[in-house]
Symmetry: C2
Subunit: 520 residues, 2 copies
């Protein structure tokens, strides 16, 4: 049985995909056959939407992360206190970055929902989706325009226009999809009240552009009101969900929409999100963050031949030594991003279903990961030994800490509904449970530890910090060993009676023993 | 039968994946069971490598494309002739970009080959792969250092050191993989001469670092020689393949390596490349190119509030009008990138197996796609009506033309071995054949047409060019109609006898008639 589980772990990912494929398959064929006779013109190239969604995820993840660049490229004066500069930044640029990230992820979540309903595409839908993507990638610009000129009507108008057109295109996609039912999710395709679903989905989608229309109208009359409306747009689903929950608690009855409500467009915290797309989006963010650093290095750090000749006596080594800290910072940051990705990857390997709440924590985690280029920029900007250097390291620690913490939060959320969302291996008491916990808490612990160090030691430098960052991977390699040693120690302390059994069959016992209770 | 094919088109992608999964599955289980008893410590978390590879593809595609930024951000003087500036650029920056792209894609191809042999991973392999990625992302920098200081030893040494460490890590991955056979490809796992494969793969992998070692030694003695060695490293597989081919032709006998040679590490033009990874890499390149534009806009085109106050009398509209052409350029470029992706997507929907030669053409096509940010930068940089403006449009046309042409070349290559590589639908005489041809040749034709226009008309402007770019999607929507009309016209001209049958059942005939012969 142990070995059975052993092999399941490779397969559960595949299994899921297989299951997903198998069911649609047969229906799709029968449906196509039945439909083909009546509708024979032009839809011959119905396609799986897999790659279109992967491409959309890549675009959206890059766009979400890109707004960190204006933050990271801000020049700090050397004599200035970093704390003050950061505070000045916080009020505008960082806030804009976080808001853009939030807006893009909201648009992305809407996109997921839409394409959970429409599962197959043709050329027209692909082109409509590309148009939608084009406007979503333009959103960050209009938003930063709005944020830079908060008292101008034009910024609000542009932003609202963008959102409205996106909403209209999504509505067109829905209408087009419902007019050719073989594009739809099988559950809806089989259902008898398609018209109800269509109306409900259109209602949800059109809510946003209609509110933006109001916001743009109010921008001529009273600008603050239109900002309030825009804020409501983003939080609307959460608000309405809260209200519904409160109402259901107050009245006591169960407020169901319809006898067979779809699992989509409900905004329940446990609404399923496509796990594949959450992974793809996260991969995109991690990849672009890792490479933003090398992008800076490639553009800025190749010395000019004439400069080398004049200032460094033709010695390239001397010229490059000037950039020394940046290389170290690059490797350190890449290692951090790579390992945070690795933790994310390990976690999602054991997650069988992603829910909205997990998606939310994932978004928060990614927003902090997106802040890493700022940390990188700060840590190599200041001269050695300055107060600013210490503060830069502290800011980096805070960013890494929260990025890791929200990953941990995802797992904890998953643990609450572990029967549905987690692989048996990492459930409470499973044999990988402790190891997973250790993996997920390594980065928060390291970041916290480093933060404390910087407060205590005055001679802590960024070089040490980057060396530490590069050293963490080895901690990951040692982790399995460390966890086992820790478990053995705990066992020694708490169950001294079983001492004699301890030495040989450690591996087999881990899975059976409720030793994890003691740890957790 | 017609409908059967109709549904196949949605499924053939899935089918392929299913098949791939089903076979490994059973072996993996049996192998794990047999191995688990003997090797019980530490390898419990064997994982599917799917997401690791997706992440690597994302990283590599971004890195490959990033070196276009120094090219695109070059400032041109307004009074300077564009042709001369471009020529000056060509000698260094563009060459560096193309070489980096080539080097990264060679590294990527090596990575594909490696992970076609090692199909399952664990934490150690994942971390080794991340280390490998870290060094590959550093390659472009060392290469541009080498290109900027061609007469310095240090540049060559750094580049060679990078390549050598990458080679060593790959060798470690192979050794680690072969020491735990359940990580391996099933064909090798089942085979009896694993030792032979291991030796052969290590030989191929170690060739590169060994040659780099020689190159770095020679850099102290005679620098040109080390450049020759480095050039040989990249083209080595092609050269040795050519030599082998010539030898086999000269001797006449069949020169087989071994009775059951693996399909990997052969460097045959028909060696299979993982189609999934070619798609993922291409998606990454298209996504980053599409977003490089918005990245520039977000950083550079939000006007400063103080400037608006001073220069534009507090009128935001006036201030933004200055950037007008850039927005148009953004939308035009995004549409172009998006549609080139769309064509690529349509093509790969019908491709059942990607070969090395197709991969090569794909790389060329992507290298030109990566050049689009340069085209974008050029087309909005110059004042209206200048000679430079026309030349900028011409350069854009050339870039788009070749990007499209190499996509077409991929299809033509696939047609040569259509039984293995193409879905029946788009094979010579299939019902989607003509439509696919039209789709693939649309961009080369449009680019060629525009180029001719710019030569003939003196009043052609970039605005018209960008409007055209935005207009092309509608051509795609009309394409199916256009193709059908064109076919009808051709039929009218060449087979006037069958005139009377033409009017109604056009759709059904397309697939049966050898009308495509006339077109092709």
């Amino acid at each position: 049985m142990g070995e059975n589980e052993e092999s399941q772990i490779i397969e559960h990912h595949d299994d899921e995909e297989m299951e997903k494929m198998r069911t649609p398959r047969n229906h799709a064929r029968s449906f196509l056959e039945s439909v083909a006779s009546s509708e024979s013109v032009g839809y011959s190239s119905t396609q799986s939407s897999h790659r279109l969604l992967a491409y959309s995820d890549a675009l959206l993840s890059i766009i979400a992360t890109v707004m960190i660049l204006p933050v990271a490229h801000t020049k700090f004066q050397d004599n200035e206190e970093l704390k003050q500069s950061i505070q000045a930044l916080l009020t505008t640029k960082i806030a804009v970055y976080l808001m853009t990230f939030l807006i893009v992820t909201v648009a992305w979540a809407a996109h997921i929902r839409l394409f959970q309903v429409i599962e197959r595409i043709d050329d027209t839908l692909a082109l409509l989706n590309l148009a939608c993507m084009m406007l979503i990638t333009f959103l960050p610009y209009t938003f930063s325009l709005m944020a830079t000129f908060p008292s101008y009507t034009l910024g609000i108008l542009l932003f609202c226009a963008c959102v409205m057109v996106i909403g209209l295109i999504q509505a067109m996609i829905v209408l087009y999809g419902f007019s050719r039912p073989f594009f739809l999710n099988d559950q809806i395709q089989m259902s008898e009240n398609q018209a109800y679903y269509k109306r409900r989905i259109l209602e949800v989608i059109m809510r946003v552009p209609i509110m933006c229309l109001f916001a743009s109208i109010f921008s001529f009359i009273f600008i603050p009101l239109s900002y309030i409306i825009l804020a409501v747009v983003i939080f609307l689903p959460y608000i309405s969900q809260c209200l519904k929950w409160i109402r259901s608690k107050a009245i006591g009855g169960q407020v169901e929409d319809s006898p067979d409500s779809v699992p989509f467009y409900t905004y329940h915290p446990s609404e399923p999100l496509s796990k594949e797309r959450v992974e793809a989006f996260s991969d995109g963010v991690y990849a672009i963050v890792a490479t933003l650093l090398i992008l800076d290095i490639c553009e800025g750090n190749v010395p000019d031949p004439s400069v080398v000749k004049k200032e460094f006596d033709n010695s390239l080594i001397d010229a490059l030594q000037e950039y020394g800290p940046e290389y170290l910072a690059y490797f350190g940051s890449f290692a951090t991003v790579g390992l945070l990705w690795f933790v994310h990857h390990s976690l999602f390997l054991h997650v069988t279903k992603a829910t909205r709440l997990m998606g939310l924590f994932n978004t928060f985690s990614l927003a902090f990961v997106g802040g890493l280029p700022l940390a990188y920029q700060l840590t190599h900007e200041f001269p050695r030994g300055s107060r600013n250097e210490l503060e830069a390291v502290q800011i980096s620690c805070v960013i890494i800490f929260f990025a890791g913490l929200f990953q941990l939060a995802m797992w904890v959320t998953a643990l609450f509904t572990e029967r549905e969302t987690l692989h048996p291996y990492v459930r409470y008491g499973g044999r990988e449970h402790t190891f997973m916990l250790a993996k997920l808490s390594l980065y928060p612990c390291v970041a916290l530890g480093t933060f404390v160090f910087t407060c205590v030691l005055s001679r802590f430098s960024t070089s040490i910090f980057h060396m530490m960052e590069i050293g963490v991977p080895f901690a990951f390699l040692l982790l399995r060993l460390l966890v086992r040693v820790a478990l053995a120690v705990i066992r020694l302390l708490f169950c001294p009676a079983r001492n004699d059994l301890d030495s040989v069959p450690v591996e087999e016992e881990d899975s059976q023993l409720p030793i994890n209770d003691i740890v957790a």
